[in-house]
């Protein structure tokens, strides 16, 4: 057994092989080893949601997953879903509603909001709040964030936005 582990995984569609420290969590791996600085490091113990990324299509806390455990996994970060255009409408709505403010929580908020709209295309405001409850905004701009997500849900359902 070793404190260093070889992993090969796919990050934003690109195959990546690295030797990582066993204790290195996914978010440090993405930011420090791969230079993908879009996902943010916040509390580092699973509370704040700033490090939310996707592993095999499901959102996770990047600080509560070891990079060493992800051999063979598909990881997607804010860079990947931005480049693909998948969340363009969410990003536009966050800007239009001034839901970014300092921007620290935004990548995690966007991935969590995208996750909600995938499983529940017509969420109520209460359901939006509930799904985003694990993502902290220290600017406290929650109202604008919920507005932005609601706007996108309505638009995707083919109605004029409120």
């Amino acid at each position: 057994m070793s404190t260093d582990v070889n992993v090969t995984l796919t990050v934003n569609g690109e195959r990546v092989s690295r030797r990582v420290e066993a204790r290195c969590h996914l978010i440090d791996f993405l930011r420090l080893d791969l230079g993908l600085m879009g996902s943010h490091t916040g509390c580092e113990h699973g509370i704040c949601g700033a490090c939310t990324v996707r592993v095999d299509g499901a959102i996770v806390r990047g600080c509560l997953v070891l990079a060493a455990s992800l051999d063979g996994a598909q990881v997607e970060t804010i860079e990947g879903v931005s480049d693909s255009g998948e969340i363009r409408d969410l990003q536009d709505a966050f800007i239009a509603r001034n839901a970014c403010q300092c921007g620290y929580c935004t990548p995690g908020m966007l991935l969590t909001a995208a996750d909600l709209l995938k499983s529940n295309p017509r969420p109520t405001r209460e359901q939006i709040r509930e799904h985003l409850a694990g993502n902290y905004c220290r600017c406290t701009g929650y109202h604008a964030i919920v507005d932005a997500v609601e706007t996108v849900a309505v638009r995707r359902n083919g109605k004029a936005a409120p």
Binding site: T3, A22, H45, G49, I59, V60, L64, T112, D115, G134
Partner: protein, 291 residues
């Protein structure tokens, strides 16, 4: 903070896991979903020499019906539990509990086996297992044994698992006809650990409860079956008087310690409020009539 250094190895099978665990020695820990373990390592609350990753052990996966029980593999994530058809149909209390556990990103990784082995006294699933009379299937390299949920939780973050034993699965009896259940908790923010909570189950005819099971969490060093309150509510229609009698009896069931959420008196009050709501909800009694 960053976790202290440790080594890491991934088990490919249950036999492999026991072999690696034994070779790694007593300072090694098992890693399942990691949603509690990795947070505690970040705080450096423990410094394991090695983590044995059991998240890809095929024998620990899957939800299936086995006779009169639903068998849930220990590696089942909360998210899988919450969307599985067998759980919704036969163990609805678990389906109701899942949205109360942490947040979506945590539910995608955290496992039922991990939650039970960690045994946080404010967690939902340990209390649900007791309310449902679940059986924990413990495995060691040599043997398997069945532990009733009521005997499994032995103290603060302590369980009946012995050295070299892991949770392989949990078995839940199928809900019987006429049975109702619910889980209620009080939290400051959605997804937090509960200030107080209750998992409740009973056979209901009219508004009378038979053999109610009332298990409180967040009010002791482990989930607490409220035996006196259960006796007070058993076989009686859920009326104002029955609720008041059960609430009075509940005081004898609980010895809540003070914590960051409040004093023992606050905890007792919250538990009484939850008890009333749970009894009314499973009996289908309107709040206005019984309150």
């Amino acid at each position: 903070m960053k976790a202290p250094p440790f080594s890491y190895v991934r088990a490919a099978s249950l036999a492999d896991a026991f072999k690696l665990w034994s070779a790694a020695g007593p300072e090694a820990k098992l890693l399942a979903g990691g949603q509690s373990l990795l947070a505690t390592l970040a705080f450096r609350l423990s410094e394991p020499s090695a983590l044995i990753d059991i998240s890809r052990v095929p024998e620990l996966t899957g939800i299936s019906q086995a006779g009169n029980a639903i068998r849930v593999g220990a590696g089942t994530t909360h998210a899988e539990l919450g969307r599985h058809e067998l759980i919704h149909r036969h163990v609805p209390l678990l389906a109701e509990a899942v949205p109360l556990i942490a947040h979506p990103a945590v539910r995608n990784r955290g496992t039922i086996g991990g939650s039970l082995a960690f045994a946080d006294p404010a967690a939902e699933l340990p209390a649900c297992c007791m309310a449902l009379d679940a059986v924990v299937i413990a495995r060691s390299a040599r043997a398997e044994r069945r532990i009733a949920a009521a005997q499994f939780f032995t103290g603060l973050y302590a369980t009946a698992l012995g050295a070299g034993e892991l949770i392989a699965a949990v078995e839940f009896p199928l809900a019987r006809a006429g049975e109702r259940s619910t889980i209620l908790e009080l939290v400051r923010r959605s997804g937090d650990y509960a200030m107080a909570g209750v998992a409740a189950r009973a056979k209901v005819s009219g508004n009378t409860l038979a053999e109610p099971r009332l298990v409180f969490f967040g009010v002791g060093d482990r989930p607490v079956a409220a035996k006196r309150a259960m006796a007070a509510a058993s076989g009686k229609p859920v009326t104002v008087e029955t609720v008041a009698a059960a609430q009075a009896a509940l005081d004898g069931d609980l010895e809540p310690p003070a914590d960051q959420h409040g004093s023992p008196q606050v905890k007792r009050h919250l538990a009484r409020v939850l008890l009333a709501r749970a009894l009314k909800r499973i009996a289908g009694v309107e709040e206005a009539r019984a309150a």
